[in-house]
C-alpha cells in the first residue's frame, strides 16, 4: 500500500507526544534535578549551594551507608533466587493440574500479590505475634520458647524475605506458568519415548526451554528487591531501625528525617547506578548463558 510519508510521520509524532511529554516531565527532568541536587547541600525543600563531590566523598566514609548497602545486598540474596526457584517449582506443580482445579489453585497462590503492603504487614505481624501468633507454635517447637521474630536481629531479614516471597511469588508463578504452557506437549512426549526420566526431562528439556522466563523473572526480582523499603520500614516500627537499615530507607531517613536533601540525592544516584549496572550485567549474563 502506498501512503503519504509526511502525514504518516506527523501522525506518528502526534501519537507519541503525550507519552514523551509525561516521561520528560515526570521522569527525565526529576532525574536530572536529582543528579544536580546531589552536588549541592540543599535541604529537603529549597535550593542549596554547589559543593561539588563533597556528598559522594562523605558517602564513602559513612558507616551507616555501607550498612544499608550490605543489608540491601543480604535481602537481595535472600529473596531473588529463592523467590524465582519457588515460583518455578510451584508453577510446575500447578501446570500438572487441569481445568478448574488449576484456576482455583493458581488464584490461591496469586491472591497475596493483590494485597497492599500494609495488609501484608498486618497479616504477618499477627501471624508472628508474640502472644497469640500462630507462627509461635512452630517457633516454640524449634527454639523451645516464644520468639519475637521482628525484634531478633538475625531473624529480621530472613523473616521479611519470607514474607516478601509469600507476597510476591504469585506473579512469578504466573510468568513461569505461561512459559511452561508455551513448551509443546509433543516435546515431552518425544522425550518420554526417548527414555528420559523426570529429572532428565527437567534438566535437559524444561529448564533450558524455560530459561528466557527465568532470566526475566530474576532480573525483575533483582530490580524490585534492590529497591526494598516498605516491608522493612513497617516491620521495624517500634524497634531500632539502624541494624536492618536498607538503602531506600536510608535515603528516606536522610531526606525526610534529617532534612539532608543533597546527601539523600547522592545516595539515590548511587542506588540508581547500582540497579542499572547489576540488572544490565545480570540480564546480559543470563542471556549469554541461555544461548550456549
Amino acid at each position: 500500500m502506498i501512503r503519504n510519508q509526511r502525514s504518516e510521520v506527523v501522525v506518528a509524532y502526534l501519537l507519541i507526544l503525550p507519552f514523551a511529554l509525561t516521561y520528560g516531565v515526570l521522569f527525565l527532568w526529576p532525574t536530572v534535578q536529582m543528579v544536580y541536587l546531589s552536588f549541592t547541600d540543599a535541604p529537603l525543600i529549597g535550593a542549596g549551594t554547589w559543593i561539588g563531590l563533597e556528598n559522594y566523598v562523605e558517602m564513602f566514609d559513612d558507616r551507616r551507608f555501607w550498612t544499608s548497602v550490605k543489608n540491601t545486598a543480604y535481602f537481595v540474596a535472600l529473596t531473588v533466587i529463592p523467590n524465582t526457584l519457588i515460583g518455578l517449582g510451584i508453577a510446575m506443580m500447578v501446570s500438572r493440574l487441569k481445568g478448574w482445579q488449576q484456576s482455583v489453585i493458581l488464584a490461591m497462590f496469586f491472591l497475596p500479590y493483590i494485597l497492599p503492603v500494609s495488609v501484608v504487614y498486618r497479616i504477618w505481624a499477627w501471624m508472628f505475634n508474640l502472644q497469640f501468633g500462630i507462627m509461635q507454635y512452630p517457633l516454640t517447637w524449634i527454639f523451645g520458647e516464644k520468639t519475637p521474630v521482628f525484634r531478633t536481629q538475625w531473624m529480621f531479614m530472613p523473616a521479611v524475605a519470607f514474607v516478601t516471597i509469600w507476597w510476591t511469588c504469585g506473579f512469578n508463578i504466573l510468568l513461569f506458568l505461561s512459559g511452561l504452557r508455551s513448551i509443546s506437549t509433543d516435546i515431552y512426549e518425544a522425550a518420554a519415548l526417548d527414555n528420559a526420566n523426570r529429572w532428565t526431562i527437567f534438566r535437559r528439556i524444561t529448564w533450558p526451554l524455560i530459561w528466557p522466563v527465568t532470566a526475566l523473572v530474576l532480573t525483575i526480582q533483582l530490580i524490585l528487591q534492590l529497591k526494598i523499603f516498605d516491608q522493612v520500614y513497617l516491620f521495624v516500627q517500634g524497634g531500632r531501625p539502624d541494624p536492618s537499615m536498607v538503602l531506600v530507607q536510608y535515603i528516606y531517613s536522610q531526606a525526610f528525617q534529617k532534612n539532608e536533601g543533597g546527601y539523600a540525592a547522592a545516595i539515590s544516584v548511587a542506588l540508581f547506578v547500582i540497579v542499572i549496572v547489576f540488572s544490565v550485567l545480570q540480564f546480559q549474563f543470563l542471556r549469554a548463558r541461555g544461548e550456549k
Binding site: D186, E189, A190, A192, L193, D194, N195, L209
Partner: protein, 365 residues
C-alpha cells in the same frame, strides 16, 4: 521379532468413544498405513501403540510381549511426530543422541550411530545446527534420524508429510519407501492422504468412525473395497455411485440397469445379492466416453483436462453425477450429449448398509 498384535483395543475419552474394539496383526517388517478421515481414531490408535495414550480396553502385544500397560520408553518404539517435536534448544546432533544418552549408550557408539544415520539421510552437514535453522524438509529428516539411531522395534509416523509442500512431500514419500526397503523395520504410518497410503503401504488399514473398515494391500483396497466408505475414500477421482433401478440374473451374474438406460452386465454373482436399494460402484477409468454410440446416456457438466486423460463429469437422466474418462485429446465440451460405456467386469455393487459385492476372484489370472 517385532510384530504388533492389537486385540479388541478400545479407547474412550470420558463418555466419548474414539475407538471401538480394533483388532489387527502387523507382521515384522511390514509398512502399515492407517488411512482414514480426520477424527476416525487413527492417530489415537498410533499413540496408544506408542504408549502416549492409555488403552481403555484390550491388549497390545509388541514382539510377543504385552505392552499396553508399559510406559512409552519400555516399548522400544520410536515416533516421528506430525510437527516433528524436535528439541528446539538442542543441535541436530544432540536431538539425535538424546535418546541414546538416556539409556547410557557409550559415547563412541552414539557418535557412530548418529553419524551413520546422518549419512543415510544426507544431513551430515546439518549436525551442528539447531532446528530453527533448518527447512521443513530438513527437520523432517532429523525427526526420522532421531528415530533411526535408536534402532527401534517399530517406527510410528504420525502424518509426517503433512507439513511439507507438495513437491517435497512426493520426494520424501519416495525416500521413506526407500528407507523402509533398506532398514526393513516395521513401520506404521498414519495419514488421511490416500495417495500416500497407496504408494507406501504393504498393507493399508482403512479406518472410519472408530472402527477398521478394511485391511488389505493397496490393490485389494483399491479394486476390491470391502465397503462403500472404502470405495469412496480410496482412489482419485472418487468412485462413482449410481442407484440401481432393476436387477436381473444373466448366466448367474447380476445384470443391472439404471432408470431409462440400457442394462449393464456385471461379473458380480446374482445369488446372495439383496434385491432392493442397491448401488453400482464404478471407477472413472471403467466408465469410458463411448466412441460407437453404445452405453448409457448423459449430458456433460464439466470437463477436466489432465493431459494424459480427460475427466468428464456427466449428469445422467436420473440426475446422478458420474465421472467418466476420455482420451487426453478430447473434443468434448460442457453441454454435449454423450454415451458412456461402463465396464461391468470391474464394477461392484453395494447394498443399503454399504457392504460391497464383487466379482469372483479369477484364479491364476
Amino acid at each position: 521379532m517385532s510384530d504388533i498384535v492389537l486385540k479388541d483395543v478400545s479407547k474412550s475419552f470420558g463418555a466419548v468413544s474414539v475407538l471401538d474394539r480394533v483388532s489387527m496383526r502387523i507382521e515384522s517388517g511390514e509398512f502399515i498405513v492407517f488411512l482414514g478421515p480426520s477424527g476416525c481414531g487413527k492417530s489415537t490408535l498410533l499413540r496408544m501403540i506408542a504408549g502416549l495414550e492409555e488403552v481403555t480396553e484390550g491388549e497390545i502385544h509388541l514382539g510377543g510381549r504385552r505392552v499396553d500397560q508399559l510406559p512409552p520408553n519400555e516399548r522400544g518404539v520410536a515416533m516421528v511426530f506430525q510437527n516433528y517435536a524436535l528439541y528446539p534448544h538442542m543441535t541436530v546432533r544432540n536431538n539425535m543422541s538424546f535418546g541414546l544418552q538416556n539409556v547410557g549408550t557409550p559415547k563412541v557408539e552414539i557418535i557412530q550411530r548418529v553419524n551413520d544415520a546422518a549419512r543415510m539421510l544426507e544431513i551430515e552437514h546439518l549436525l551442528d545446527r539447531k532446528p530453527a535453522q533448518l527447512s521443513g524438509g530438513q527437520r523432517q529428516r532429523v525427526a526420522i534420524g532421531r528415530a533411526i539411531v535408536r534402532d527401534p522395534k517399530a517406527f510410528l509416523l504420525d502424518e509426517p508429510l503433512s507439513n511439507l509442500d507438495a513437491g517435497l512431500r512426493v520426494r520424501t514419500r519416495l525416500e521413506l519407501a526407500q528407507l523402509h526397503h533398506r532398514i526393513k523395520a516395521t513401520m506404521i504410518f498414519v495419514t488421511h492422504d490416500q495417495t500416500e497410503a497407496m504408494t507406501l503401504a504393504t498393507r493399508i488399514v482403512v479406518m472410519n468412525n472408530r472402527q477398521i473398515e478394511q485391511i488389505g494391500t493397496p490393490m485389494e483396497v483399491y479394486s476390491r473395497p470391502a465397503t462403500r466408505f472404502v470405495a469412496g475414500f480410496v482412489g482419485s477421482p472418487a468412485m462413482n455411485f449410481v442407484p440401481i433401478k432393476s436387477i436381473t440374473d444373466v448366466g448367474g451374474n447380476a445384470s443391472i440397469s439404471f432408470a431409462g438406460q440400457p442394462p449393464i452386465h456385471t461379473a458380480v454373482p446374482f445369488g446372495g445379492l439383496p434385491k432392493n436399494n442397491l448401488t453400482l460402484g464404478i471407477r472413472a477409468e471403467a466408465a469410458r466416453i463411448s466412441q460407437d454410440g453404445s452405453g448409457i446416456e448423459g449430458v456433460v457438466d464439466v470437463v477436466e483436462r489432465l493431459g494424459e486423460r480427460t475427466l468428464v463429469y456427466c449428469r445422467l437422466p436420473d440426475q446422478t453425477t458420474l465421472v467418466a474418462e476420455d482420451n487426453g485429446v478430447s473434443a468434448i465440451q460442457p453441454g454435449d450429449a454423450v454415451r458412456i460405456a461402463l465396464d461391468g467386469n470391474v464394477a461392484m455393487i453395494f447394498d443399503e448398509a454399504g457392504k460391497a459385492y464383487h466379482a469372483v476372484v479369477q484364479q491364476g489370472g
